[in-house]
């Protein structure tokens, strides 16, 4: 897991401060500063001079994010002169930084080179700043069609892309793209719902990745054979079902909220596409757990010892994934 070396802590702190700077800025220029700070402090976290794959991944990440930031700073100066074009450019560049389709091409290749800790950061914290910035733009007229385009194509590409994968990292990439589509649509309707979705998505994907990280499995046939006792298998299965949005688990709650909002705003066709695509993503989550929950054999092929942090996090994961359905009642109180 996280090895507590000093430079990593510094870079983590500056990563977070960059994101917060971008979120709480009042002009595009300070937003750009925050995004650049975020980018610059993420690169040392993922690059390593020993392996070729992580260094290649970090290079690709840097190039793509730098392109996005360049387009943002270009368009932010043009906002006074041609608002239509520049706001579309800003939203497109932010979609590029997020990894939403149709600009998602860098995302699988970058994820393939990282280890699980870096993946958690890439999937959750790195999405924070661009999403908030897009939400500031979502009330504008010119960005609606971009967000629509991004949402629908993310849904379809997230679903179709993940089916044919065996690498767990790529599966999580496409799942991230698919969840982005829900968030983009939520942004068009109601600001609160996408924040809820983002929070739940962060917690659930963190719990999923923490299980994979504890057993150090990177490919999907290996994920099943790492445990003898049924309890870790059950908990990891529940994590994945919650990520897929299966009803008694907490991943269903944000999808439910967004579905209801979309029906009330008459977004029927996009909702249909979103629901079908999340069905397909649910299929490939369940496929990961299928062998582990149906084969009962005491002779497993892999014997990996559990990392100590796993034991601490499994009650946390369970509570995240099981009690999410109580959130609407909390919202009523608020």
């Amino acid at each position: 897991m996280i090895s507590f070396s000093p430079h990593k802590i510094i870079f983590l702190l500056s990563l977070l401060s960059g994101s917060f700077l971008a979120v709480s800025s009042s002009s595009w220029f300070s937003a750009w500063i925050g995004l650049e700070l975020n980018l610059m402090s993420f690169i040392p976290l993922i690059s390593s001079s020993e392996n070729q794959l992580p260094s290649e991944a970090s290079l690709k990440y840097f190039l793509v994010q730098a392109l996005g930031s360049a387009i943002i700073i270009l368009s932010s100066t043009l906002t006074f002169f041609i608002p239509m074009v520049s706001l579309s450019f800003i939203s497109l560049a932010l979609l590029l930084k997020l990894g939403a389709a149709p600009l998602h091409f860098w995302f699988p290749q970058v994820m393939e080179g990282l280890n699980w800790t870096q993946i958690i950061i890439l999937m959750t914290i790195q999405k924070l700043a661009p999403m908030f910035l897009i939400s500031y733009l979502s009330s504008e007229y010119y960005t609606h069609s971009i967000l629509f385009l991004g949402g629908i194509s993310s849904a379809i590409i997230g679903a179709l892309g993940g089916i044919n994968q065996t690498s767990l990292r790529k599966i999580l990439t496409y799942s991230s793209i698919n969840h982005l589509s829900w968030m983009l649509f939520a942004m068009l309707i109601n600001e609160t719902s996408w924040v809820i979705y983002f929070l739940m998505y962060t917690l659930i994907s963190a719990s999923v990745v923490s299980h994979f990280a504890s057993t150090q499995t990177y490919f999907f046939p290996h994920s099943i054979n790492a445990n003898y006792s049924p309890l870790p298998k059950i908990i990891s299965s529940m994590n994945l079902y919650s990520l897929g949005g299966l009803p008694p688990f907490s991943g269903f709650t944000p999808k439910w909220i967004i579905t209801q909002e979309m029906i009330q705003s008459s977004f029927y066709l996009p909702l249909f596409i979103l629901l079908l695509s999340s069905l397909v993503t649910l299929y490939f989550y369940i496929r990961i757990t299928l062998s582990s929950i149906s084969i009962s054999s005491t002779q497993m092929k892999w014997n990996t010892p559990l990392k100590p942090l796993k034991i601490l996090s499994s009650p946390l994961c369970t509570s995240i994934n099981l009690f999410g359905l109580l959130i609407p009642s909390i919202l009523l109180v608020i």
Partner: protein, 575 residues
């Protein structure tokens, strides 16, 4: 104390005492000419009331007494017959449940409560037929339960038709049913025909011989198959004067004849006895259709006693020759098993109508009454022929099993040292000998007036002796290709396979539905449904995924360049 191991003793004591008690009650109610009806109303639907009715008149008491007597001996007998079996206690509980269902049927004059006994009989007989869990028993059980199910449907439909009458106690409505209730009578007759295995539905009775011998002795000789005759006896007041009677007469005479003919060509011991049961059932239903219900009841009781005895002796024989049921492999059993041979001869001769044994009183009376009434010549000939055929196959059986030279294997131990089986058989043989005269004197205080010409009077005796001679001598042949049965094999096949009814009932009936179900399954469920459903959808998704993967198979530089150039172009367009 292990109840399972002693259940035969318990049932013997309990059932025997109940039987004696019931027979006593029947005598009492017969002498006092009284019957008790106990009713309990469940609910009433505007004008019809659903009640649970129990009737206690001499008919039900007597029938109950005889049934409990037979079942007590059969259960004691099965203490030895099924003694080595693993699920012996299950068997005993099932037989006891069967007896209870039969009791429920006997004492209910209400169509809804008779359904309880009727369905219970069908269900428990199915479970008993499939008791030995092999494929033959499975097929036999399926044939039994599905044939009986047709009768259940008949009763259910007649229950719904009884709404016209305002109640379901058919015993009180006999005089009201003449006239336009033809459908009701037809349905009840169909139900009785399936239960008593008359001609369209007679395939199940020989097939049900896959059950253990005590089951055959109790179920297929005296209780299950007589349920149909019993319901017709209770309905007999309603059936008189309707055209249903003529149909029943023809059908039962044909059954009588076909079964008698088929038993002459059969080589399986249990199937011969099953076909003889079928023939006697035809006799019962035919005399009932002529309007003499009490004669049918009389023959029912005597037949139950000696047929159960016959089955039990057959069971003893089969046990001794190491479970081989083919009579070609038996012979000269009279020297090895004297007591069994005595009981078996008693049962056989009672079946033939040997004077002053049980069968004589009932069967001879039936024949004379039938000859006296106005029957058509076809039924008359069938009566005469079937009587002769009955004696024919009986003597054939005696020849093959008991009096011929031994056809068993070279080293054989044949003994009858099972005391419980012997005691059961001897108890029933008392009934087989004395029940005819006792019942005749008790049930018919004034006899039927018989006035026949001399040829008709001695016709029965003549035909019987001719049949005996034929049945004994004709079978003293060896098998060779000059045998007429081998030369005209197709006719032999027709006669011995019960006029092809088993094949018609099992193969041809579901053929169309099974073939259409197969085509629905292969073309629909595994074909187009998959194409438009699971597998087709999966194929489409996979195609999309492959297309996506191919389109992403480029260097990042390509995409970045494309994005950047496009931005520049749009920028310059709008500047």
């Amino acid at each position: 104390m292990m109840w399972g191991a002693y259940s035969h003793l318990v049932s013997l004591v309990f059932l025997l005492f109940s039987a004696l008690g019931f027979i006593l009650f029947s005598l009492v109610s017969m002498s006092l000419s009284s019957s008790y009806v106990i009713e309990w109303e469940l609910f009433s639907l505007n004008s019809s009331s659903v009640v649970v009715t129990l009737i206690y008149d001499w008919v039900s008491f007597l029938f109950l007494g005889v049934v409990l007597f037979i079942s007590s001996t059969v259960m004691y007998y099965s203490g030895d017959y099924m003694s080595g079996d693993k699920s012996y206690s299950r068997f005993m509980y099932l037989v006891f449940g069967f007896v209870l269902s039969m009791g429920a049927l006997i004492i209910s004059p209400n169509l809804i409560s008779i359904l309880l006994g009727w369905d219970g009989l069908g269900l428990i007989s199915y479970v008993l037929v499939i008791y030995y869990q092999n494929e033959k028993s499975a097929n036999a059980g399926m044939l039994t339960v599905l044939s009986n199910r047709i009768g259940d449907v008949g009763i259910l439909l007649s229950i719904s038709l009884f709404f016209m009458l305002g109640g379901w106690n058919f015993i009180f409505y006999e005089s009201y049913l003449s006239g336009n209730f033809l459908l009701l009578k037809i349905l009840v007759c169909v139900a009785a025909m399936t239960k008593s295995a008359q001609i369209p539905f007679s395939a199940w009775l020989p097939a049900a011989m896959a059950a253990p011998i005590p089951v055959s002795a109790l179920v297929h000789s005296s209780t299950l198959v007589t349920a149909g005759v019993y319901i017709l006896i209770r309905f007999s007041g309603a059936l008189s004067g309707s055209c249903v009677q003529s149909v029943l007469l023809i059908v039962s005479c044909l059954t009588m004849f076909m079964a008698g003919l088929g038993a002459n060509f059969e080589f399986d011991l249990k199937k011969i006895i099953a076909l003889s049961t079928l023939s006697q059932l035809g006799v019962m239903v035919s005399i009932l259709s002529l309007g003499f219900a009490d004669l049918a009841f009389f023959h029912l009781l005597t037949h139950a006693l000696f047929k159960a005895l016959l089955f039990m002796c057959a069971g003893m024989v089969i046990h001794s020759v190491k479970e081989c049921q083919d009579i070609c492999n038996m012979g000269s059993l009279v020297t090895c098993m004297p007591l069994t041979s005595v009981c078996m001869n008693l049962a056989n001769l009672a079946l033939c109508g040997m004077p002053f044994l049980a069968g004589f009183y009932s069967k001879d009376l039936i024949l004379e009454v039938a000859f006296m009434s106005e029957v058509n010549i076809f039924s008359f000939f069938l009566y005469v022929l079937s009587t002769g055929l009955t004696v024919c196959y009986t003597f054939r059986l005696i020849y093959y099993s008991m009096s011929s030279l031994s056809n068993m294997s070279s080293v054989m131990i044949v003994s009858e040292n099972h005391s419980k089986m012997l005691k059961g058989m001897m108890t029933l043989s008392v009934g087989a000998v004395t029940s005819g005269c006792v019942l005749a004197w008790v049930v018919f205080p004034e006899f039927y007036m018989i006035c026949l010409s001399v040829p008709l009077k001695i016709l029965a005796l003549l035909v019987s002796s001719l049949g005996a001679l034929l049945g004994y001598i004709v079978n003293m042949v060896g098998s060779s290709t000059s045998l007429k049965t081998v030369k005209f094999y197709s006719y032999t096949m027709f006669v011995s396979s019960m006029w092809f009814m088993p094949i018609l009932s099992t193969f041809s009936a579901p053929r169309w539905s099974l073939s259409s179900a197969e085509s629905f399954f292969k073309i629909g469920d595994k074909g187009w449904s998959e194409y438009f459903g699971g597998e087709g959808g999966f194929g489409e998704v996979m195609k999309g995924s492959i297309y996506l993967q191919l389109s992403q198979d480029n260097m990042i530089m390509v995409y970045m360049k494309g994005f950047f150039i496009w931005i520049i172009v749009v920028f310059f367009i709008f500047i």
